[in-house]
Amino acid sequence: MEQQPTNIWIWSAIAVLWLLPLLSFVIGLVLWRKRKSGLGKFSTSLLAVSTLLSWLIFGINFGVPESLLSLSWWKVGTTEFSFSLALSGITQLLLVIVNTVSLLVHVYSLEYMKDDPGKNRYFACLGLFTFSMLGIVLSDSLLLIFCFWELVGTSSYFLIGFWYKKESAALASFKAFLVNRVGDLGFLIGICLIYAIFRTLSISELQTMVDAVQWKGEVFNFERNGELITSSPFMFTVISICLLGGAVGKSAQFPLQVWLPDAMEGPTPVSALIHAATMVAAGIYFVARVFFLFTPPALFIVAFIGAITAVMGAVAAISQYDIKKVLAFSTISQLGFMVLALGVGGREEGLFHLATHAAFKAGLFLAAGSIIHAMHRFAHETHAHFDAQDMRLMGGIKKYMPTTFLVFLLLALAISGIPMFSGFLSKDAIITKAFSWASAEGGVRWLVPILALFSAFLTAFYMSRLVMLVFFGSNKTPGLGEKSGLTENGKLITIPLMVLAGGSLWIWFNWNPFGQGSWLMDLVATGRSTISGLYLETTNEIPHKTIAIISILASLTGVGLGYVMYDEDEHQTIAELEETTTKPGFWSELSFNNWYLNELYDQTVVYSFNQLTKASSWADRRVIDPLINLTGVLMVVASVVVGWFDKKVVDGLVLLTVRITEFFGNIARSFQGGAVQKYIAWSLFFTLLVVTWILIK
């Protein structure tokens, strides 16, 4: 590969922007339990510097080919593992996204978490998260990525369980952590397999090897340290699937998406940062980084997983009443979209959607947080007790919180795929790619673009439902009069919202609001060869305009349907709300309960585990315990025998030795009884003996 001369200024700037969040975390560790001292402003300013640096790098290094920084890390025998960082277009993009969203969330949190006693802990964890997320972004070594991968999971665990005194929050953090472990297992196996085959963990070196791979009909040939290695495509498929496992866990793809809705137990800014914009996107980012390893069969699986996830998430989002739950399922759906994009070969399209989604989904979460914050404040002021996140208790909020409404509306339009917004551009690009992929191969592959379209439609639908329920109609909040009540939040909350809403406009990505793709796609494109590219593949170009019209139609239909269906006010008292959680009906319940996935897992995985536990417990008690008891009894018998032998024979011998020693000891002792004169007498005696001997001689 063309090794760019390492620019020392760029790399030191990266080191600074990377380590500043870590500094925030370290200071946070010191101030962990302090309630008064404000770590927040300090962390925020650190992150502002970090963000500024990331933008600078983005600007200065724009379009510069990938460069690498490799330091010796540790050695096992002759194998050296390097601490290598890579800086490429995709890295720069992610640096900007992560830093910017993190900065906005920090600013937002200054207001949102103002009264929380654990805010220092909160900001420290945010610092740790940002640091490890940047680590994932920057790392070139798979091992390093895995380390930061786990660190990100850890900080996510901390933040989901931030209000750890609440049982549901603690359980949600456990769940997120455990479900992620399942995916990470696959990731780890994948890393091991890669090392077994390629003898390296550096992504850039892997890419170089793949560049030189030769396709010999049934097998691959590639060069490894000068020797020619032959490998089957099946092996590569396995590796790809294993690596995908990590992404599936982290990015909440089918079938591991169950943890994400529960993760909404964390503070809303955390949901915006981690569970919408950055960490869950890490899976997408990672697959994009190692995309060149994926074989067509693997990509097929990826595409279907993405499609299924997109539809399942969208369906589940339709019937939720918790405003954050809707957004959580929406996130799952959008992540599915990205994975789908990757699966159909649209690496750039997926990353593009990642970028746009980061902006509008973070904005949506923060806006939802703004509403929840206001509801909370209102509940606190009126001493009322109600669920501040229940949409059925909202309505007509646009009157009270105009800024939030406006922002939310823009962002909702963006996610719904309405033209003039970023969401349309990225979604359109994905659907177009999916259609051309399907038309090239045909068959069951046609399901993928259709499911994508369907989920786009559903997205528009549930978003308009959300907007209708929350902002339009009459207000249903208990105790809310015309004069008193909900008020707009402070500038610290609204400014990040406005920034994100502004970032959701089309103009940043493509001059043409109906245009195809974005310059971002060119930025992240590598132009390097991939495994899947080795297969001769024909792509049918379906006219973009057709696809665009279809997708716009789908979105508009969704929006219209939502507007029509939820225009009517549903008046329900709190008592009625508590009785009915959802509307009756199969589809409704299926959607509300997220396809009963949790119950399915309870019935299958958890149940079988419990059964296994019971069985092993039974085996332990009935089989192993008697065996041990038997051994014990045998031991007792043996020890009695041995004891007799010991007492009679061994002790007898020892006693004999003792008696003999005692006998001689007594003799020896008589020479030295502490009587000094005896000593002198003895020495004299022997002197005389010597004298006598001399005399005789």
Binding site: Q677, A681, L684, F685, L688, V691, T692, I694, L695
Partner: protein, 165 residues
């Protein structure tokens, strides 16, 4: 006056006093008889042309060591009007050993060439010179030894509180 007779007189003094020490069980008598022994030995030293050693013997043994011994006797025995006696132990053994020792030494040194003792002029001056030149190091070492012994003795004999009174 024949020098030989004085020899025998001093020797007799030594022998008699030593016998007295051997016979008596009274510690104080033994100590005071020891004075006689030392005096006799000092006399013999004078006759052997060692004036300085003789006077040193008087000074240190009688003026120092013996006084210490008597002090020791007085401090380690309860004064109750009775004479301070020591018990005998292994008398036969001791006598046997020492007689054997005496006999063997006498036997072994038999035939030792004896020459006439001649007067040594300016012995003191020469001794003084020798001490500060030839034997200087030994002299210093002995001085240090004395100092250390004195400090050690003072430390050991010091009363330490009531516990060991």
């Amino acid at each position: 006056m024949d020098i030989g007779i004085i020899h025998y007189i001093f020797a007799a003094l030594v022998v008699l006093s030593v016998l007295g020490i051997l016979v008596t069980r009274n510690l104080l008598y033994a100590a005071f008889l020891l004075v006689l022994t030392f005096l006799g030995v000092a006399g013999l030293f004078v006759l052997a042309q060692a004036d300085f050693v003789a006077v040193t013997q008087l000074m240190i043994y009688i003026g120092g060591v013996l006084i210490l011994l008597v002090f020791g006797i007085m401090l380690t025995n309860r004064v109750a009007g009775q004479p301070i006696l020591t018990q005998l132990n292994r008398t036969v053994l001791g006598v046997l050993f020492s007689v054997a020792l005496f006999a063997s030494i006498v036997y072994l040194t038999q035939g030792f060439q004896t020459t006439e003792i001649v007067a040594a002029p300016h012995a003191i001056q020469r001794l003084g010179m020798a001490i500060l030149t030839d034997y200087f190091i030994l002299f210093e070492i002995v001085g240090v030894l004395l100092l250390v012994a004195l400090v050690g003795a003072a430390t050991i004999a010091r009363f330490k509180g009531e516990g060991h009174g």
